[in-house]
Symmetry: C2
């Protein structure tokens, strides 16, 4: 009997969790497992705001994929996925192609610019390790350049964050801690620095408990962030942004613009002819793409409706990992042709949003929390993600223990 | 009797040495001493190549001026000199003006671009702390950006150094050590990085012993530097440089161009109507400007002919400090109106050119040396400069002790 080919695309939270669970569930002789990823490392997407601000080195945010996979069972291919041809059970890569019996698509998110002019060209987005390093260095270069110019341009020291959602707020929390360090490094008066957050929605952190939102905004404002709520970015230019509130428009000059207001699924989904909405596929209860019983979609590329709220579940690491876990179990059922497929039921333990290394807000097991307690919980959430994929040794290597 | 006003312009090697020696020689009631400097710190100009490459933090390269001056005797003014009016014994500053009975001009060097098109706009020069930080960050930003671009531009990883003189060679020595660190930091294949040194003269380090030059060039070539000797930079563009050798021209694309091939005296000299050549004044044996017996010029703005070679002495820290020492003695003679002015006689102990932190070439007390012995000597030279100005406590604070 021919061993089935299982191909997993992407080594983010969803894909890597599928891989490490599947390698435990099946034996060497039961399946050929191939994991494809653009880089030879996994990175903690939910920690990228720290690497981008420069408050945590990017090497603390990533680890080699070969550290967590069992190379006797899993073949790792470093390549970029170009397109899936589900009718032919093939995947085109930049440097090769693969055929599969079972496919797991875990290609994660990309930045969504909603067609805002100039955003792609002139704004950064906190997308991956490469982008995070560039944002860190771009901001630092602006500070390093300021004092070299005879005509001082204070807009070099202005940082605009587009979006006061989860990523925007967490990034602001790091920036307010980073800026005083940069001011010392480059002999700059902190009063000259501006951090401006522009949010089109009528509140920061839409969907969060209002009392916690107020706490978060208050903390960031006291540390110098200017919030422009209910204000939309209309255009991004080489000099900054143009915003609109009602009928009034205004130009804000800024040396750095970071767009943290929109994500979508992978463009590979669009390319491959799946039924999709912004790169996300509405999957069946077993996480399969409509029409293809052998194609599972986990993480930010999958779309599931929360029946309690009638809205899609948000694209979070928590859900991606739970999906990966279930996907591995269902793959084992299919490979062995015994047992029954299980439907996905998310188990939302809570959400914690950091405000720098020593403050946070969150709701955990239905309980609201803020300050050092929430910050402690955030670090436990971060360490738990490491534990679930790489066990205790990965927590020791990469975990966050600056908890007191 | 009115106390004379002594004004010292510039807190580089020459000006600061004049100040610290003069404050020891005269009493509080003998003179008003005012030191003017653009920054509130002194920096080791001869170490700036390290800060520029990023191999030594710029805070290791500078110290507060108030650490070494006696504030009972010396008034420190942080301001920028605009113009000297020697006929009226006045100095115009950006934010004020001073009148003097005795003036010491120690305004140091500026970059000389020899009218090469685009050099001022598109090339960096290792001029001061601000510039050094910007060069370090510019190079780092090029490396950080490389992997974020879909179309990789390898010229981002090309660094051109204009000039294989003393500064150019020392900067190359640091760069070859820094580049492997940057490659690790930004996941870049070191083979993609190019370091190109362009020198118009027929040899690197003109004036140095040929055997030592060969050693230095060999060391740097083995670490990856490409030398283009006898090749002139014709133009600098936003994309790189255009060079010419004989009749042939060539474009070299480069993300970073550092111009290390020319220095001149301060433009304040030109502005102030002294007889000058490229901002340097041919001083009398007592270091005085022609026509003004109360204006002393020390350091890189002064020009003295070495009668043995019939060429000017090079602008070095060694000579600047010796001039400062003599200038302080002569000022004390004038202030007290007793004794006789002494002529300046340089005492060249040697020259050591570093090739990174662990290698160097040099001639010290007439003896040629290279390798770790020369490197040790270089660090002793650096520590000696600290000792002469700030005594043992400054050596302890800022000295180089990584000598084994």
């Amino acid at each position: 009997m021919k061993k089935p080919n299982v191909v997993i695309l992407g080594a983010g939270y969803g894909g890597l969790m599928t891989t490490v669970r599947l390698q435990k569930l099946v034996g060497v002789n039961e399946a050929n497992i191939t994991l494809v990823n653009k880089y030879d490392y996994h990175y903690e997407t939910t920690w990228l705001h720290e690497a981008s601000a420069g408050t945590l080195h990017h090497d603390r945010v990533r680890y080699p994929i070969t550290d967590v996979i069992d190379r006797n069972k899993v073949q790792f291919v470093q390549d970029t996925v170009v397109k899936i041809i589900p009718q032919e059970q093939r995947v085109l890569l930049e440097k090769g192609e693969l055929s599969y019996d079972y496919l797991v698509v875990a290609l994660g998110f990309e930045s969504e610019t909603f067609g805002i002019k100039g955003l792609k060209e002139y704004a950064f987005s906190i997308a991956n390790i490469n982008a995070a390093r560039q944002i860190r260095e771009h901001i630092e270069y602006q500070f390093a350049t300021y004092n070299t110019e005879i005509e001082k341009r204070e807009e070099r020291l202005t940082i605009v964050v587009g979006g006061a959602g989860f990523t925007g707020i967490e990034f602001l929390g790091e920036l307010v801690n980073r800026v005083p360090e940069l001011c010392r490094e480059y002999d700059i008066d902190p009063k000259k620095v501006r951090i401006i957050c522009v949010e089109a929605a009528p509140t920061a952190l839409p969907g969060f408990d209002p009392e916690l939102v107020e706490y978060a905004v208050g903390v960031l404002e006291r540390k110098g962030v200017e919030f422009r709520i209910g204000t939309a970015i209309k255009e991004c230019t080489p000099e900054g942004i143009i915003v609109a509130k009602g009928d009034e428009t205004e130009e804000i000059k800024a040396g750095t613009v970071v767009w943290a207001a929109g994500v979508r699924g992978s463009y590979v989904i669009d390319e491959s002819g799946f039924e999709e909405m912004r790169g996300r596929v509405k999957v069946d209860p077993f996480l399969r793409a409509p029409g293809y019983d052998n194609v599972f979609i986990v993480g930010d590329c999958s779309l599931m409706i929360n029946e309690e709220t009638n809205r899609p579940y948000p694209p979070t690491a928590q859900i991606a990992m739970q999906q990966g876990e279930l996907c591995a179990k269902n793959l084992a059922v299919l490979i062995r042709q015994q047992g029954e497929l299980q439907p996905f039921k998310p188990d939302i333990k809570g959400t914690v949003c950091s405000l720098g290394h020593d403050d946070a807000i969150g709701v955990v097991f239905g309980k609201k929390m803020w300050g050092s307690k929430a910050s402690f919980m955030k670090k436990m959430v971060d360490n738990r993600a490491l534990y679930l994929i790489g066990g205790p040794s990965l927590v020791v290597k990469k975990g966050k223990f600056n908890i007191f």
